[in-house]
């Protein structure tokens, strides 16, 4: 068991999400930065679909009631065990009653705590990813207890990580279904402008501050995906993220590649980004 002494700013349990349930209106969900989330599981020798904790900007304080192994990946939030700094992207042995805590955010936005065997919280529609109206809990709260596997206390992973994916501000994108409706000014603006992340960002979507001149009408409601860039009537670009709705009515002008979605997951307010359109 892991006891939540402090929940942090916004900490959730995530796995690979609910792929294949979108025809019921159920969002995909899953780790925002799936690269970092997978990496932690791989380093521990876990299956990549076991659940991890996704923590945002301010980390939680967690007490482990039994020995295990963990690995911290993604954003650098100055993790420490018993107040001693621990390295990221490597296996860390935890003893009974050890306390994991975090400090200053040094890079990125979201970090992942992987634990040997994964977190065993409630599973709904084949996933433990927390989501409003599906799972009972939508984020960690003080005094929660999270079950973890205690079958094996041995971690024989030999994976050594040479380098981790850097956060890229130049996002690889392909054309969205309504890209062709844009005029040449709009197209030029999108590929040449350095956009800024607004303070409106969460697991559903991220808004950019820079406005496009726009006279496009809404479309008849159609499918959207994580990584779809929508253009709203007032000219705002919205990048849909892992918890996005399954359908939408704004023109879909670009589609981020998977790697770009992982990068966007680590961008915070005022970060710059640009779009590199693959042709």
């Amino acid at each position: 068991m892991v006891k939540v002494l402090k929940p942090g700013m916004f900490s959730t349990v995530q796995d690979k999400g609910r792929e294949g349930f979108q025809s019921y209106g159920i969002p995909q969900s899953g780790s925002m930065d799936s690269f970092s989330s997978d990496l932690g599981n791989k380093i521990l020798g876990n299956a990549i679909n076991v659940a991890v904790l996704e923590i945002t900007m301010v980390g939680p304080v967690l007490e482990f009631e039994s020995p295990t192994f963990i690995c911290i990946t993604g954003a650098d939030l100055s993790a420490s065990v018993q107040n001693i700094n621990i390295p990221m992207n490597t296996v860390i042995a935890i003893k009974s009653n050890d306390i994991l805590s975090f400090g200053a955010l040094k890079s990125g936005l979201r970090a992942y705590i992987a634990v040997l065997g994964g977190f065993k919280t409630e599973k709904v529609y084949n996933s433990r990813s927390m989501y409003k109206n599906l799972t009972k809990a939508i984020k960690l709260s003080k005094n929660d207890t999270l079950e973890i596997s205690n079958e094996t206390l041995f971690c024989d992973s030999k994976l050594i990580v040479q380098s981790v994916q850097n956060i890229e501000n130049e996002l690889m994108v392909t054309k969205g279904p309504e890209y062709s409706m844009l005029n040449s000014n709009q197209k030029n603006f999108i590929i040449s402008h350095d956009f800024t992340v607004s303070n409106n960002y969460n697991r559903m979507a991220l808004q950019l501050t820079d406005l496009l001149e726009n006279n496009l009408d809404s479309i008849i409601t159609s499918a959207v995906l994580p990584g779809t860039v929508q253009l709203t009537p007032n000219g705002t670009l919205i990048i849909l993220m892992r918890d996005c709705q399954t359908t939408g009515g704004y023109p879909r002008v670009l589609q981020l590649e998977e790697r770009a979605i992982n990068s966007v997951a680590q961008l915070k307010k005022d970060s710059k980004l640009s779009f590199n359109l693959k042709t």
Partner: protein, 243 residues
């Protein structure tokens, strides 16, 4: 031979292809979309999910699509040889709704602007039979078509922060039921006590599927509370619909 409609294919992501029909809402297009969806599901393609909207299909594969041209060719061959939508599977669902001013916070406002009285609005809403076009927006939210034109009413310019679960609303030319508490911009005319998402619909997540029909059955507020308090034993009435 049945006539094929004009469709186009678009690679939406590394794992998915979007198929578009003419951008309009009609049963003619919807059932062409649904019959193509049935045919793709019956094929042996390595597909994670196929889902539809009014006039599009999204085909998501288990892995990255290697050769998009071959895949589109193969999908189109399925389209050209598909059968008509199998209507024997079509069901009509009877959804209890309590229409009154207690639940229907916007009934009076709609009445004022449309010059219809509240009783007329309610009657026009439950008189029609609606087609379930697809699910989206929220888990278990059904997009319905066939709202009476007299009831078309614009969405609110500022959405309500909390529309309660079960609220029956009108947004533009669309109508539907909020399956959970949610912010939303539709005008609320009543409330249904039943669950629209759950694991108890014979292992299905939603009782209804695209192509099914919905009939709203007006109930009293007492009946509404009775159903709400006895949800575990409540069974949604349905019948198979032939035609």
């Amino acid at each position: 031979m049945n006539k094929k409609l004009a469709i186009n294919y678009f690679q939406f992501s590394s794992k998915s292809i979007l198929i578009n029909w003419d951008h309009s809402i009609s049963n003619h297009i919807l059932f062409d979309v649904l019959s193509f969806m049935q045919a793709i599901k019956l094929s042996d393609k390595p597909i994670l999910e196929v889902r539809n909207t009014y006039c599009s299909l999204l085909v998501t594969y288990n892995t990255t699509i290697d050769n998009i041209y071959n895949e589109i060719k193969s999908l189109n061959s399925i389209y050209l040889h598909k059968k008509k939508y199998n209507i024997s599977e079509k069901k009509i669902w009877k959804i209890p709704v309590c229409y009154n001013e207690y639940f229907g916070k916007d009934l009076l406002n709609i009445s004022k602007k449309t010059k219809l009285n509240v009783e007329e609005i309610i009657k026009l809403h439950y008189k029609n039979t609606y087609t379930v076009c697809f699910l989206g927006f929220l888990p278990g939210f059904l997009y319905l078509s066939n709202l009476n034109k007299e009831l078309y009413f614009p969405r609110k310019s500022v959405p309500d922060l909390n529309i309660i679960k079960g609220s029956v609303g009108i947004g533009g030319s669309q109508t539907g039921v909020y399956p959970s508490n949610s912010p939303g911009g539709w005008n609320i005319i009543g409330n249904s006590p039943i669950d629209f998402i759950g694991s108890d619909f014979n292992d299905k997540i939603s009782f209804a599927k695209p192509g099914d029909l919905i009939k709203f059955i007006p109930i009293s507020q007492d009946h509404h509370s009775y159903i709400l308090n006895n949800l575990e034993s409540y069974k949604i009435e349905s019948e198979v619909c032939n035609g």
